[in-house]
């Protein structure tokens, strides 16, 4: 049984604001010293307009020092039994060979206690320093996913 949070966030602007605060709170609890040292800025990207409340993204942050970003896309839950969560690396502003591009960690999830825990585990090493592009295969992240989801990798 998955413990969903704010499942109706797309239907109620008050709930939507609570979700935004939930992600901000999650973020501020992670590595405060390193976030300051590495000059992480939050928020980074909006949904495009203040009246577009689609959760795409629901949270974002950016470190100009690292040229790294984090973008979380949240969607309503579709399963009562499965953790709906995945993450990957992408670039913003150009392809990977473009020195001006920003490496971004993308998390796509339905928010639940379980996916929030996974998000923390995935974000923490990403924000802390110059993690390589093989990030998603590193033991720390792989083991985190195994621990929470009980599988070898995010589906």
């Amino acid at each position: 049984m998955i413990h969903h949070l704010f499942a109706d966030f797309l239907d109620d602007s008050n709930v939507y604001r609570q979700v935004v605060e939930y992600w901000r709170d999650l973020w501020t609890r992670l590595e405060p010293l390193k976030r300051g040292q590495l000059e992480w800025i939050e928020p980074w990207l909006s949904t495009g307009a203040p009246t577009i409340l689609d959760g795409n993204p629901i949270f974002s942050a950016y470190s100009p020092k690292l040229r790294k970003g984090i973008r979380v896309v949240q969607y309503p839950p579709a399963s009562a039994d499965d953790v709906e969560f995945d993450y990957w690396l992408d670039t913003y502003g150009g392809d990977i060979t473009d020195p001006q591009s920003i490496q971004e960690l993308v998390i796509s999830c339905a928010l639940s206690e379980e996916s929030a825990r996974l998000s923390r585990l995935v974000i923490e090493p990403w924000l802390s320093g110059p993690v390589s592009l093989q990030y998603t295969s590193t033991p720390i992240v792989r083991n985190a996913v195994i621990e929470v989801m009980g599988v070898g990798e995010a589906a």
Binding site: L45, A49, R71, D86, D90, T136
Partner: protein, 107 residues
């Protein structure tokens, strides 16, 4: 900084996943119109193979919807959107990046 990068209104559409990595960029002096954006997104779609296109049919539809939604609010500011929002790693998707300025203004 290249002349193209110095333009105040920039962005790109991307088709990704299943080994596909194609994009169409805009870079211009004035905000991109919603009609121009629909054309550019259609051009990206047409560059794909029939299978790549079929795999992203719903994602392209959602991206077009977002352009229309942006036009209804007078255009959008820098953002990045992933369609479908519940995409999984490596699966077919369409991304919209508004890198600078405004995009999808009515017209």
């Amino acid at each position: 900084m290249t002349a193209q990068n110095s333009m105040p209104h920039r962005g790109r559409f991307q088709a990704q996943g299943y080994g596909t990595e194609m994009s169409k960029n805009w870079s211009q002096a004035t905000a991109s119109l919603a009609s121009q954006a629909h054309c550019l997104l259609n051009a990206l779609c047409e560059d794909l193979s029939p299978v790549e296109r079929r795999d992203r049919e719903a994602a392209f539809a959602k991206a077009h919807e977002y352009i229309d939604r942006g036009a209804k609010v007078g255009g959008v500011t820098p953002t990045k959107k992933t369609f479908p929002p519940n995409a999984r790693r490596g699966q077919p998707r369409v991304d919209i990046e508004v890198l600078a300025g405004r995009a999808f203004v009515p017209g």
